[in-house]
């Protein structure tokens, strides 16, 4: 019975660590296809707003493809609602959000 308790405690500890590790490992890139991306001067607002976010490492804007690439810092994530809000506040419409791990 005592061994079983040790086993159970170890199992829970491992699961807990594993769970934390998963959260820390959520990083990568977010690619956002947007409508209305035709003016460089206006699109500066996208960089201004995303760069205010702690989770953002870099923002790259491709006007030819109407695509915004957001590099996240290691250990950070950004949910779709926040991505959509920041794009809308910048003056554009989100067409689609892609996740790249």
């Amino acid at each position: 019975m005592k061994n079983f308790k040790y086993f159970l405690a170890s199992l829970l500890l491992c699961l807990s660590l594993s769970s934390n590790a998963d959260e820390k490992d959520i990083f990568g890139e977010i690619h956002v296809s947007v409508n209305g991306l035709v003016c460089d001067f206006c699109a500066q607002s996208i960089q201004k707003l995303f760069n205010k976010e702690e989770s953002v490492e870099a923002v790259d804007i491709n006007m030819d493809e109407g695509m915004i690439k957001i590099d996240l810092k290691d250990g950070y994530n950004m949910d779709d609602n926040l991505v959509t809000k920041l794009i809308t506040d910048s003056g554009y419409n989100v067409e689609r959000i892609y996740r790249v791990e």
Binding site: G36, C39, D40, S45, L49, D60, N62
Partner: protein
């Protein structure tokens, strides 16, 4: 009639404030310096949301010899974002005081206001804009003006590149004897800086500079 006009602007500002959004991005400041054959102008504003900006406008009209000090509101009423183009419809209004240098009204200060609409459409190669404005400064000035601007980009730069536009602006002031004025101009922008240089058909220079931060 004049007081009705101010009343419309007054309520327009507050009604729009309640329902409208900003012009730049929330928290973004813009400073615009405009100089052409008609006036010198500085307009600075803060976007409170992505559909509304509030700011201060100071302008001096050369021929009419008066200055306008106004609190200005720019309201983005509607934006059309398409895959390869964007269009915007704005209402711009201001209320403040006019000060005249002109002989008849020298030293006079009058309540003033202006309001107008602006529509623009652009893709990465072509640009079109129409705007108008009605300005009322009591006895000092009272006029309607409108303009159209066409633009052509000779190349499509990427994000962060220097962008160049060749533009053609036609202004119409029905009250003036020579009511049309034509200004070919260059527009350059890079990063948060935008510069316009032109020369109108009366030989007067145009110099505009905008910065956003």
């Amino acid at each position: 009639m004049r007081y009705t006009f101010y009343l419309i602007i007054f309520f327009g500002i507050f009604i729009n404030s309640a329902f409208a959004r900003p012009v730049s991005y929330p928290g973004g400041w813009t400073v615009m310096l405009k100089n052409d054959g008609n006036l010198n102008r500085i307009h600075t504003h803060l976007s409170t949301t992505h559909k509304l900006s509030l700011g201060y406008n100071l302008e001096y009209w050369h021929d009419e010899e008066f200055a306008l000090n106004s609190l200005q509101m720019n309201n983005l009423v509607k934006r059309w974002n398409k895959k390869n183009s964007q269009a915007n419809f704005y209402i711009k209004s201001g209320i403040g005081f006019a000060y005249s240098d002109k002989s008849n009204f020298d030293g006079e200060i009058k309540l003033s206001g202006f309001t107008g609409i602006s529509y623009d459409w652009e893709n990465r190669s072509y640009f079109f804009k129409y705007q108008n404005r009605y300005t009322d400064a009591d006895k000092i000035y009272d006029a309607f003006m409108q303009s159209v601007t066409f633009g052509l980009a000779p190349y499509q730069g990427g994000f962060g590149d220097l962008h160049t536009w060749l533009m053609f602006k036609i202004e119409h002031k029905p009250e003036n004897k020579e009511s049309f004025e034509v200004t070919p101009l260059f527009r350059f922008f890079k990063s948060v800086h935008l510069l316009e240089l032109g020369l109108n058909d009366r030989g007067k220079f145009l110099f505009n500079y905008f910065i956003r931060f």
